[in-house]
Symmetry: C2
Subunit: 398 residues, 2 copies
Amino acid sequence: MSQGFDKQNEVAIIGVGATPFGEHWHKNLRELALEASLTAVTEAGIRGKDIQEFYIGNMSGGMFTGQEHVAALVADFLGLNPTPAVRVEAACASGSVALRQGFMAIASGLYDLVAVGGVEKMTDVQSGWVTSILAGAMDSEWEAYFGVTFPGIYAMIAKRYMYEYGLTREQLAKVAVKNHYHGSLNPSAHLRNRITVEDVLKSPLVADPLRLFDCCPISDGAACVILAPAKMARQYTDTPIIIQACAQASDTLSLFGRRDVCTLDATKQAALQAFSQARLSPSEVDFAQVHDCFTIAELLAIEDLGFCSKGAAIKLYDEGQTYIGGKIPVNTDGGLKAAGHAVGATGVKQVVEAVKQLRGEADKGRQVEGAEVGLTHNVGGSGGTAVVTILRRGDSMS
Amino acid sequence: MSQGFDKQNEVAIIGVGATPFGEHWHKNLRELALEASLTAVTEAGIRGKDIQEFYIGNMSGGMFTGQEHVAALVADFLGLNPTPAVRVEAACASGSVALRQGFMAIASGLYDLVAVGGVEKMTDVQSGWVTSILAGAMDSEWEAYFGVTFPGIYAMIAKRYMYEYGLTREQLAKVAVKNHYHGSLNPSAHLRNRITVEDVLKSPLVADPLRLFDCCPISDGAACVILAPAKMARQYTDTPIIIQACAQASDTLSLFGRRDVCTLDATKQAALQAFSQARLSPSEVDFAQVHDCFTIAELLAIEDLGFCSKGAAIKLYDEGQTYIGGKIPVNTDGGLKAAGHAVGATGVKQVVEAVKQLRGEADKGRQVEGAEVGLTHNVGGSGGTAVVTILRRGDSMS
């Protein structure tokens, strides 16, 4: 077996940028990507032509906007030609799968400066069609063809979870309440309204037991990070953030193919590898940005990541431990639920938020005090792909 | 600047597989990918679980079949879970961009065994819609929106080339005649009929001056190669083929943005880098598989790759030098024109053909005798992406 990841170069993030997530009627795909990338490049103090490889996560440029070949398009608009430009797709995990490719390109010593973006423009098509496009992330022939949508898939998970572990409808609502509270403190969030458990319970039913306020919104947005070897990072920034690990795993696209519908094995596998690479345990993580496309997904995530045992997540919510200031703050920017979900951009945007937290630059009221280690977790489909990234402050102990 | 590609591990191909390209009405996307991959895995004598990373090139699973998240889907069907599975997209260059990611994963020392596939299922939608989907490879807002199709784009290139370099309509037809001749010797080719210059000139006009027989067909198909460090390759095969170089470049998606519409700068840049990495010159290449989506594209390719100067390609065709047995055999399997173009698979399929040539395993009448060095060239869109790969026999001099 390869010794590759043991002898790797340490990888640092030296610049980040993200657009607000939301309805950007006046900006197209390439303009969103440009906005996020220029912020990141400017932060890093580099020029476009210094970038040796450009990765971008994008789920469905083709179906959302008629545009494939997105990486070269954005690279051109950024003035990067003839730099190699690579679009990576793994449904809603596209952004973090792109990040992992960039991480490997630096960790391996092949490159010294890599840009990783993520972008999605989702609001230019009618909303029913968005749901159909997103169904391309599941097994289209054996799931989508028979009429199930993602709210339906996650509703089945939620039903089973409630049956197995005694989760109540009111408890599930607490995930949304917490994420909207965090989102209310985030000027870049798609949804900034605070909500109550009652608001969730009174919101329209989407797929029993999931209601509107259990579901993340459909967003436009982009994010970008600039990567360099840690040993060179101080040339660019006083606050490098180290990617301690970035691990990815695959599983069946179909829910019916799973060992256990209440567990995302891809998350478990990616987390095991990431914690092993980072030589850290979940208890050493100061905050986590997890993939909460639906409220139930956040509960699965924190269990499968190892923050608590299976079925025990809701206790953390009953105790308020996932709020900023709690034992393990989850989705400090509001998560997909409130900060928004521009699918191809989400994985990179989670990392942008983690970097801001680790630098101590989060907005007022959202800063996790003294945060030294953060984790991001990004899922494709209902768990066909999962990526777990562990980040730490460049000046903290390894 | 990174020294990465100077200190790399040498990368070998230890197994290959491809489906015939054509109309596979009875096989879906995952079945095509499975067929090609099983052949490659069997050739390499490995088990699926030995594979440490799986890349797959696919242009438009979403638009052609409603299926995104293609890498995890295929990985599941291949029994590779939880191996990381990464779909890569760069329009018609998706396959070779995936190959390059696999090449980097081995060259860098991160991994010891990587599978790279390419797949496209194009014939399940009506043909007019295929043209619209393919237009996602150009600048959708500034080219496709105004009604131009790829035949139109390449027709503009051909018109200008004829004006600049005095190419005649009859001469251009010779590219198709040669590729159909090679295709007639290839049992896996999509089109196996031999044609004459007159056949081309009498075929229906598609976009002046391009006629039906100037255009490649729309194909279903898949291909796969297994990569390992060259130093380990003999464990798996007696005939390892070395990837001497794999280089990629980007350019504007739009034709109107180019310095010169008769030159693909992305091809030139990728070729320069590839020949530099390989420490070889074009005269040392024994055959080339180039991106002939339209006849005119093959002429640009062999010029931009450095096999002759700009405007001089047609002389090679007048003299028959691009036939097997000529000075520089081009598209020994029939190329995209006759062997077929399953867009996301094409870049990998070109490499499969090159490997068979270098092993001396090409079909009767198609073997380039004594071939030691081969080149593949794959283009996305009208040149927004280009990848050039140089391969040599594992037992030949480096």
